[in-house]
């Protein structure tokens, strides 16, 4: 199989996973921030 063909499809998977990972990582960071905010709230609220 031509190396250019393999490289082109690797680029597709690489960029797709990079975007998915980037969204997932940002979501995780926001969830951690939310947890921190919840913990910082006084217990009677």
């Amino acid at each position: 199989m031509p190396v250019y063909l393999v490289a082109a499809y690797a680029v597709f998977w690489g960029l797709t996973f990079a975007l998915v990972f980037s969204i997932w990582a940002r979501q995780r960071r926001l969830e951690r921030e939310l947890e921190a905010l919840k913990k910082a709230q006084p217990s009677d609220q």
Binding site: P2, Y4, L5, A7, L19, I23, L34
Partner: protein, 226 residues
Amino acid sequence: MMNRQNDLPGLILALASAVAVLTALGMVFLYAPREATMGDVQRIFYFHVSSAWVGFFAFFVTFLAGILYLVRGERRWDILALSSVEVGLTFITMAVITGSLWARPVWGTYWTWEPRLTISAVQLLIYIAYGMLRRAVEGPERQARFAAVYGIVAFVTVPLSWFAIRWWRTIHPEILSGGDMALTPRMVQTLLVSLAAFTLLYVTLLRQRIRLERFADALAALRMTQ
């Protein structure tokens, strides 16, 4: 507040996208015939065209969302525009790189400054600048208004890129006229399935990106109340 656990529609969309992309991939390698002149390297064409299509469509969504933001001033249109640029940029980058990888064995070079490729490079830089300039503007409303106008003006690169191969002398193949690359029915079917799969993937990624932005907004509002 939204989280990843309660998003059943998102999970269904993601699964449907995965199945669609794997089906398209199967058709590219097992169903579509080997092209007579270019050989197996022509199989790059299916995902190259599909990623370019999604990139153009994403920028069109940003264009429309920009108009709607300027008319209505609602944050949801700004979120849609911003999210669509990010997903569109990923696909346009994909189209540019896969195009270069196709060009190397077919044209003998990764890159040449012919009209279509030059406009694609300029388009890529313009939309990369969208995010950078957006962050440079102070105040959320000014930022959104500026981004809306920028997204509307930047969209001119899409019709320019589309018509470049018709208006100017270029070595880029013109597919839809059937002039430069005669497609067999199996090739056309594979291309159509790839286009559908990529469109579904775009919707899935866009939806997740919009959810992320809404989550960030909700969190910012919560922080303000504390």
